[in-house]
Symmetry: C2
Subunit: 135 residues, 2 copies
């Protein structure tokens, strides 16, 4: 089971600890493909074209896609657009206490499952069930 | 010539005047399809599912796509991901003085043209040439 994880990088890094916690949870269920979204220093030495190419290849290859969508991010949105077109199963995780309402492109999208949460620890059964459903 | 214009809505509305100026410029070159991204009050009475369906239909139908990408936005990113997969010509307009570096998914993307600017008025020849190239 290969799981693509998507979180904001240049859109804002305030949720980096949450991304790390989510990746830890996801690693119990499969191999997590992600552009070092949990690291403070990302993609050292890679050009933007390399990052794009690698991310899109991982996304194409993944069995399922999980995105944390609380911090608005062009890159996360782009990956979700491509994942939907490839008909990948997509789970979006959203904390409603943030500064931004969730985009209608995600909230109004039949091809995307949205799960609201406050504490990543409570997501374990949600992630387990999402992954198992598509195994 | 049908032009899809994309700008941030729930990701942040600080650039709304710039979106309006860009839409004015684009209207000289064709019909601009956009989810009232230039209006203070957007999409009154539409559900998120209606907004998603209408936006994706307009995007599918458009000859070219122009996005203002300075304010990070999931919805803009999502639309760009779908536009790239449909092989639409895509022009992204970016003001480098903002708070966020441009995503590698856009900056490193061969399928997207990025134009940096400071004042929308200076974009007239860029928009004219982009539209004419794909007419």
């Amino acid at each position: 089971m290969e799981i693509f994880f998507s979180g904001s990088i240049r859109g804002g890094r305030s949720d980096v600890d949450i991304y790390a916690a989510l990746i830890d949870l996801l690693e119990r269920h499969g191999e997590v493909l992600t552009e070092h979204v949990e690291a403070e220093e990302t993609a050292q030495g890679l050009s933007d074209a390399d990052i794009h190419e690698q991310d899109v290849a991982w996304l194409r290859q993944a069995d399922v896609v999980v995105a944390e969508v609380t911090t608005p991010s062009l890159g996360v949105g782009y990956e979700l657009g491509r994942a939907v077109q490839w008909e990948k199963p997509v789970l979006c995780l959203y904390r409603p206490d943030g500064d931004h309402d969730l985009s209608a492109m995600i909230r109004g999208n039949d091809a995307v499952t949205v799960e609201e949460y406050r504490d990543p620890a409570t997501l374990e059964p949600v992630l387990a069930s999402f992954v198992d459903e598509h195994r």
